[in-house]
């Protein structure tokens, strides 16, 4: 503490005293020879680390330099070196005063000093000062024989970053950014959080002292990476635990991605510098030993990040491989690629590099594919980054192209690296890795609460609209139009059970686009605990069929229109064996309003029923029609009967023997929700949903 105070005082003193560059020699310190000797010793020790090959060790050089600085704060070279130590470690924002002082003491201290002063301002988001210093550096060094061309190029890019920063700062996004606290973060580095779609479980990488084996990596210092786990508990996270073997080993094990349902995890394994992606599969609470992904993904080059698409049919990943078809075999900057799952060959296939409106000449990294099925978040040093890696989003359009990336904005993005961003399905909560000086030490995980557009207040007014009556009438308040651009989807989750035994069941969940009549994806429930989770991006009418061998299928329908608010549906499914008396509601049979003709969207469900009847040729069924309680009893009865008859006609036309089919219309005689129950529901939406459940078509097995 004393040291910090003395350095601070020395800095201040240096600023106000217009000191001259003071060398570490006897002429300047005649009266303190011992002090000088000690300072020179510290300088020498610091230089050992500072000048280390092939890479400078700024972190270890810094304490020695700080001691020397306490003795002589007015040496331009030492100020410069301390600036370099700070800007290249976790104390980047503290570098500026050292560089400025170094320049004041000796403008020729280093040709690139103005560049670093610019960077110091850049990191503090003082855009104009940064641009001014970068420009001064460029104008002084351009065309000079000893100038560093890379640094000149970098200055040009950084000027652009500052301009982007100025623009984005004018429209900051509304967020809360919070350290995830001691249940997750420690004094050691934590980073790369991944989570399932409903945000109930998360994994992250940490280099804490409880890592497997407790061994320190001699190459880059710090404990070896391990993967840790935490579960959502109310409004926070439970204390993180090490996921253990077989995922964690004594080497580096780092998180990459988690499938939306949390059943598959991608892990990064260093593979002696090659860097590859491995996959582990969960059954119940046990993870399988990670298996290296197909060679189409794991090239001899570096693959650092990946994520599954919401339907599991694509895998996006980052690779530094040469451009496809290129003769140049040199490793290049990191780009985003994807491969497609070939169900027939049971392997990943068809490598595609994302187009140049996404991939830049700079690095892309830190992929995350949102469960909305269209938005991909990634970090890039290119585009309109405001410095280092920034987080961007792009949308996969229906025609297969990707929209131009959008910088997700400040204050989430900073002039430093902003990476490993993940977002909850609702779009409400994001998580990222960041180093902040008020953190718990090293990199920490941070939670970002996206507040969305400003929520405008609602005011109320009243008037006497009719002059002849004194009656005061309230004006209907102007409500804001709410859009949830980051979470246009629904999540359906639950557990599948055997209806009789109530034991969890393995089943396949088929997702259909009812309008197009095409199967979108197939998911599975966990064979141990029967759990499942499916994301339903907005803009479709989904038919969901749960199928298990020896059971009747179970159907659900979810209509998620474009622009819909985020919804989570918890739905446990009880599968019924094919037995006499069992009743199944056919939730994907649709009719026109007050009519009985079948709508084309019903085809998939009807075909499923036909398959069931063909697979079980001895069973006989009764189709029953039911209406809600609105409308007259007679009309409802007639309508429901005609609707049931229409289904039977469809089945007969499809070749099902008439003798196996009966139909009946019950009108409003067998309501699932009575009028009294509906009246007690709070909102119109809930009441309408209850009426909707009353309107149904069922089938019942009447003989086997």
């Amino acid at each position: 503490m004393k040291k910090i105070v003395s350095i601070f005082i020395a800095l201040i003193f240096g600023v106000i005293s217009f000191a001259q560059d003071t060398p570490f020699d006897k002429s300047a310190f005649k009266e303190d020879k011992d002090g000088l000797k000690e300072a020179l010793k510290n300088l020498k020790e610091g230089d050992k680390f500072y000048l280390q090959e092939p890479f400078a060790d700024y972190k270890n050089a810094m304490p020695f330099y700080e001691k020397a600085y306490a003795f002589n704060p007015n040496n331009a070279d030492l100020n410069y070196k301390l600036g370099m130590c700070n800007i290249n470690t976790n104390f980047r924002t503290r570098a500026l005063p050292y560089f400025e002082k170094a320049y004041r003491l000796n403008p020729l201290v280093a040709p690139e000093v103005k560049y670093y002063i610019g960077q110091g301002y850049h990191l503090l988001q003082k855009w104009d000062d940064a641009i001014k210093n970068y420009n001064e550096f460029a104008s002084k060094n351009a065309g000079q024989p000893n100038s560093d061309p890379e640094l000149l190029k970098s200055a040009t890019k950084k000027i652009q970053e500052c301009k982007s920063g100025k623009l984005l700062e004018k429209k900051p996004i509304r967020v809360f950014i919070d350290n995830m606290g001691k249940n997750i973060n420690t004094e050691y580095p934590e980073y790369c959080m991944i989570m399932n779609a409903d945000g109930s479980e998360m994994y992250f990488t940490s280099r804490r002292n409880t890592s497997t084996g407790g061994i320190i990596d001699n190459i880059n210092g710090g404990y070896f990476e391990d993967i840790f786990y935490s579960k959502s508990s109310g409004d926070g996270w439970a204390p993180a635990t090490n996921v253990g073997e077989p995922i964690n080993t004594k080497g580096h094990d780092a998180t990459v991605a988690l499938s939306p349902d949390g059943s598959k995890m991608l892990v990064y394994i260093d593979d002696k510098g090659d860097g590859n992606i491995y996959e582990s599969v969960r059954k119940g609470d046990a993870w399988s030993k990670p298996k290296k992904m197909d060679a189409i993904i794991c090239s001899p080059y570096h693959e650092s990040s990946a994520w599954y698409s919401n339907d599991g049919k694509r895998l996006y990943f980052i690779s530094s491989r040469p451009l496809p078809g290129s003769k140049d075999k040199m490793e290049k900057d990191k780009d985003i690629y994807y491969v497609t799952w070939n169900a027939e060959k049971q392997k990943w296939d068809n490598l595609v590099r994302l187009p140049d409106n996404i991939n830049t000449p700079y690095d892309e990294d830190g992929l995350f594919v949102h469960p909305d099925g269209k938005t991909i978040y990634f970090s890039s040093r290119g585009h309109n980054s405001i410095g280092g890696y920034d987080i961007f989003s792009t949308e996969l359009r229906p025609d297969g192209t990707f929209s131009d990336p959008i910088n997700i904005g400040v204050p989430v993005n900073t002039p430093d690296d902003d990476v490993f961003f993940v977002l909850s399905a609702s779009g409400r909560y994001g998580y990222m890795t960041s180093f902040r000086e008020d953190g718990m030490g090293e990199k920490d995980l941070y939670k970002i609460t996206f507040l969305g557009d400003e929520k405008p207040p609602i005011l109320n007014s009243e008037d006497i609209l009719l002059a002849g009556l004194g009656q005061v009438i309230a004006e209907k308040p102007a409500e804001p139009i709410v859009s949830n651009r980051r979470g246009e989807l629904a999540i359906l989750k639950g557990t599948i059970y055997d209806d009789k035994t109530k034991k969890p069941l393995y089943a396949k969940i088929e997702l259909t686009d009812n309008v197009k009549g095409e199967i979108l994806a197939e998911f599975e429930s966990d064979p141990v605990n029967g759990r499942f989770l499916v994301s339903l991006p907005a803009g479709k009418n989904y038919g969901i069929a749960v199928k298990a061998d020896g059971y009747l299928f179970h159907s659900e329908n979810f209509d998620i229109p474009k622009g819909a608010d985020y919804q989570e549906y918890n739905k446990d499914v009880y599968m019924k064996k094919i037995e006499v008396g069992e009743v199944i509601v056919l939730k994907n049979i649709f009719y026109d309003l007050a009519k009985y003709s079948l709508r084309p969207e019903s085809k998939t469900e009807l075909d499923r029923l036909i398959k069931l009847l063909n697979d079980n040729p001895t069973i006989k069924i009764q189709i029953s029609g039911h209406t809600d309680s609105r409308g007259s009893d007679e009309m409802n009865k007639e309508l429901s009967k005609n609707r049931a008859k229409e289904v039977v006609t469809y089945l007969i036309k499809a070749g099902i023997s008439e003798g196996r089919l009966k139909y009946e219309g019950y009108g409003e005689e067998q309501l699932i929700h009575s009028d009294a129950e509906i009246a007690k529901l709070k909102t119109e939406k809930e009441r309408e949903a209850a009426h909707q459940e009353n309107r149904r078509t069922e089938f019942k097995i009447i003989s086997k």
């Binding site: 959502s232 409004d235 207040p457 609602i458 007014s461 009243e462 009719l466 002059a467 608010d565």
Partner: protein, 361 residues
Amino acid sequence: MLKHIILASSLLFVTTGIFCQEDVKVLSQSEVEALKSQLPLAAETAYNDGIAALQAKNYTLAVDKFTEAINAYENFEKAYFNRGLAYDALNKNENAIADYKKTIELNKDNAEAFYKMSGVYEKLGDKENTLIYLSKAITASPTVVDYLYKRSTIYFQDNDYENSLKDLNEIIKQNPSYAFAYNDRGSINRLQNKLDDAIADYKKATLLDKSSKIAFNNLGSAYRKKGDYDLAIKAFDAAIALDKQFYLAFNNRGYARYEKGDYDGALADFDLTLAIKPDYAFAYNNKASVLLKQEKWNDVVKMCDKAIQLDANYGSAYYNRGIAYEMLRNPKQSCQDWSKAAELGIEAANSYYSNSECYKF
């Protein structure tokens, strides 16, 4: 002589419309004489006593006296009508309807009886019959704009703006200086978002009746809705100048000032509103809205608390308080408030609830 004078004046009383704008219709001396010649003296005496009781608001006595008159002269149309009025005042609605019906039976062109009967049905909440008898009154006397006006208000209250508008247009055609009709037509235009038409109508209403604080206030609200905040404020100023206690205009001027971005002015107006009407929940909520803009989250909560205390089912106040709690980092409370606001019909609160993962709390 005295009796005759009373009879004349009582007949005058009978034919007075309920709306103040129309001239009183007085029977001619010859009509009075003709009626007198048919009436037995007992009927005339009882009738005049009934009129006196009616004027004195002694409705029970009035009923008795008109009954006496009817007993003395069974086709006494005016006595039936006036007894109907007395029953009406006593809320003996069935009796009042019976008497009005008898009046009409005796004189099928008695527009006032139709009109009064529609009034009883209105009191009973029977919209269908209210409109039927009002329409009959209008058919019987198409030039009595008060009947048209009454029907236009019934249509308006039933959200049948098309028919209301037809009646108002007819009134304006018959009597272009009928200020109420312009005001009400302005209100229909405003509700249908035809703001320029609404403003034109309200302006006309204020020109025809410079003392109409209602029309000035409505004009201000139409300007506010259109986004002409300065003109809105001017109109509310005029309404307030006519009535310094007109709390609606203070509240509405505050709203216009808020929309204009004059938050201090808005707060001052809402405070003035509350000084006049301390139990006005809207003003507390509106004050909270300004404080939201000023990011004074704790004060927002206080104001919304007061609004909710005054009206436990005030959706906007729950909605606004939810926003403040969100900014105060109290998501649980904000979710509870948005849930309640959604239940009370605020759709946006429903969206906030869903999109903020409130179901987790």
